[in-house]
């Protein structure tokens, strides 16, 4: 099956040919770190819009507005006028902008984009569009509940259902860690010394025994040469992680060697539990990284 931009082609939509007189760009985007929104528009729409933004930033109109105030008709009109629309089309464009904002708030979207917005002899047509929605709002957004993320592998889908973030990589060391930042830092450290992780797996905050067990089960499916577990407990409890490890080792007799680091909340209890089962756990990252090297070369 063909891929376009890393996405598998799942369906093809055939549309009536539009007689394009001009292509525009318009979107409403959340500026998250600025805690506001942008209405963005350009006369130079189409697939090259990013190049336009880089080489001719003056061709991109960007107007900010607060969430509370929302997109006003006045601001929408101002931007539509900057695009140079004729008086006959001005109202249609203003309404498109206001509609974008209505969709943004109704769907809790972080991006609602039309590119290109095409001028034809019979009026304006939205030829292509894109939205970014909030997974965390899915519980009250029935329309997005059934959307499936197409780019995920089967294992990644399983991970999503189980509630942790997981990305398949092409190395040989299975990774189970907690916290996206710590997991990424661990992968960075491994890559820096030439070791290759088989996956990224952040088991999430306050993971239950079941969740950690499922994570291990998933990692075993990758058939890694060893599994590196790096837990720094905050809301996650080391004793619960230890219980899951013990259970998994009992159930999966062919599990690869595990190199374990447990520190933070209930670290003593966790290490003690493992010790009682004859499993060694380390307290420092550097120790486990060295141990992994040893296991792989052994």
């Amino acid at each position: 099956m063909k891929e376009v931009g890393g996405f598998r082609v799942e369906a093809i939509l055939i549309e009536e040919l539009a007689t394009i007189q001009h292509e525009y760009y318009c979107s409403i985007a959340l500026d998250a770190s600025g805690r506001q929104f942008f209405l963005i528009a350009s006369k130079e729409g189409g697939i090259d819009i990013e190049e336009v933004a880089a080489s001719h930033p003056e061709d991109i109109i960007k107007e900010r507005f607060s969430f509370k105030q929302g997109l006003t008709r006045e601001l929408a009109k101002n931007v539509a006028e900057q695009l140079g629309f004729t008086p006959q089309l001005l109202n249609a464009v203003i309404n498109i902008f206001l509609k974008l904002w209505e969709i943004t708030t109704k769907m809790e979207a972080q991006l609602v984009e039309i590119n290109p917005l095409v001028l034809t002899p019979s009026g304006l047509i939205a030829v292509d569009g894109k939205m970014i929605l909030d997974d965390d709002a899915a519980f009250r957004q029935p329309l997005i509940q059934n959307l499936e993320e197409k780019k995920l592998s089967d294992l990644e889908k399983l991970a999503k259902q189980a509630g942790f973030s997981f990305v398949e990589l092409d190395g040989e060391i299975g990774i189970l860690a907690n916290g996206a930042g710590l997991t990424m830092a661990l992968l960075d450290v491994l890559s820096q010394i030439g070791l290759r992780p088989a996956n990224f797996l952040d088991v999430g905050g306050g993971a239950s025994k079941e969740r950690v067990y499922k994570a291990l089960e998933l990692i075993f499916k990758l058939k890694p040469r060893c599994v590196l577990i790096n837990i720094f407990g905050g809301i996650t409890r080391c004793d619960i992680v230890a219980e899951a490890i013990i259970q998994a080792l009992k159930d999966f007799t062919t599990a690869p060697p595990m190199v374990i680091r447990l520190t933070g909340t209930n670290e003593k209890e966790g290490i003690e539990l493992l010790k009682n089962e004859g499993i060694n756990a380390f307290k420092e990252v550097i120790e486990v990284v060295n141990k992994v090297k040893e296991v792989l070369s052994g």
Binding site: L111, D136, G206
Partner: protein, 287 residues
């Protein structure tokens, strides 16, 4: 001495105290010495959790105990109402531990807080700590002692790793602030850096960032213009495969942002020292 609106005299209310996480971390915070005077869980007023009285509403808790700081452990879909309640009751600083809070809920809450000159931190954050004085959050308490380095982090567990390394090196911490990993935050990285650039008890700043968003880049710009204190930074995600980007709009808003390399370049350019490994931070702090 107030520090990001909390101090060792802060009287804390735990919202969601009867839940698993709420009860467990109430115990750990009490052991640290945090003055937790009240808990709130609707319909569970009258109970006690680790000898802390539970009330039905924050308003009642404020009236009965004089609590002035809140920490939130309620599930994501009830967080909006819980924080709204805390703001209405006049709580000065509300620390939101909960993860998966909808972005639009945070937009509304941030606006409410700003209008009333009240403060939020988080969501999806480990909380904040003034070592040896108050722990308002889920971070391990034994990472470090009090000193003059402020640690500001987007990431939770990675900041524990780094703060512990700093503590092990005998360097003290004036404040540990976990701003959280979600897109819309109660306190932005720039706001917290600005606060500690002016804090008389802080001499150096440690910044822990990760790939995604343009927050580190914006903060680097701010540091370049406004911060004379030394800044040491670590950015996670250098080896991460390129992820999905925010449509065309992302690139249009702030150019080519979000990569570890881009963030490191911006921070270097602002005069920050960059640690290539998390445990090299103490060395850079001592240099």
């Amino acid at each position: 001495m107030a520090n990001m609106y909390i101090s060792d005299n802060s009287k804390v209310v735990v919202q969601g105290i009867t839940g698993n996480q709420g009860a467990f971390h109430t115990k750990l915070m009490l052991e640290y010495g945090t003055k937790i005077v009240a808990g709130v869980t609707p319909k569970k007023g009258g109970q006690e959790v680790h000898s802390v009285p539970v009330f039905n509403t924050v308003e009642e808790a404020v009236r009965e105990t004089g609590c002035d700081i809140s920490i939130i452990f309620v599930p994501a879909r009830f967080t909006f109402e819980a924080v709204k309640e805390s703001l209405s009751a006049g709580i000065k600083m509300t620390c939101i531990i909960t993860e998966n809070v909808p972005v639009f809920d945070m937009l509304r809450l941030v606006e409410m807080a700003q209008e009333r000159d009240q403060h939020l931190i988080g969501p999806n954050c480990p909380g904040m700590m003034i070592p040896d004085k108050i722990k308002l959050g889920i971070m391990p308490g034994d990472m470090c002692h009090y000193g003059n380095v402020a640690v500001i982090s987007k990431s939770g567990t990675l900041s524990y790793e780094i703060t512990k390394t700093i503590g092990n090196a005998g360097i003290g911490v004036s404040a540990y602030i976990g701003i959280g990993g979600d897109p819309v935050r109660g306190k932005t990285m720039i706001e917290v850096v600005e606060y500690y650039s002016k804090d008389p008890n802080t001499e150096k700043i440690v910044l822990i960032g990760e790939i995604g968003s343009d927050e580190e880049e914006k903060t680097a710009e701010f540091i370049k213009k406004n911060v004379s204190k030394p800044v040491v930074a670590y950015i996670a995600g250098k080896s991460a495969p390129e992820g999905k980007r925010m449509g065309h709009a992302g690139a249009i808003i702030s150019g080519d942002f979000g990569t570890a390399q881009g963030k490191i370049k911006a921070l270097k350019n602002a005069g920050a020292l960059i640690a290539d490994l998390p445990w090299n931070i103490p060395k850079l702090l001592k240099s």
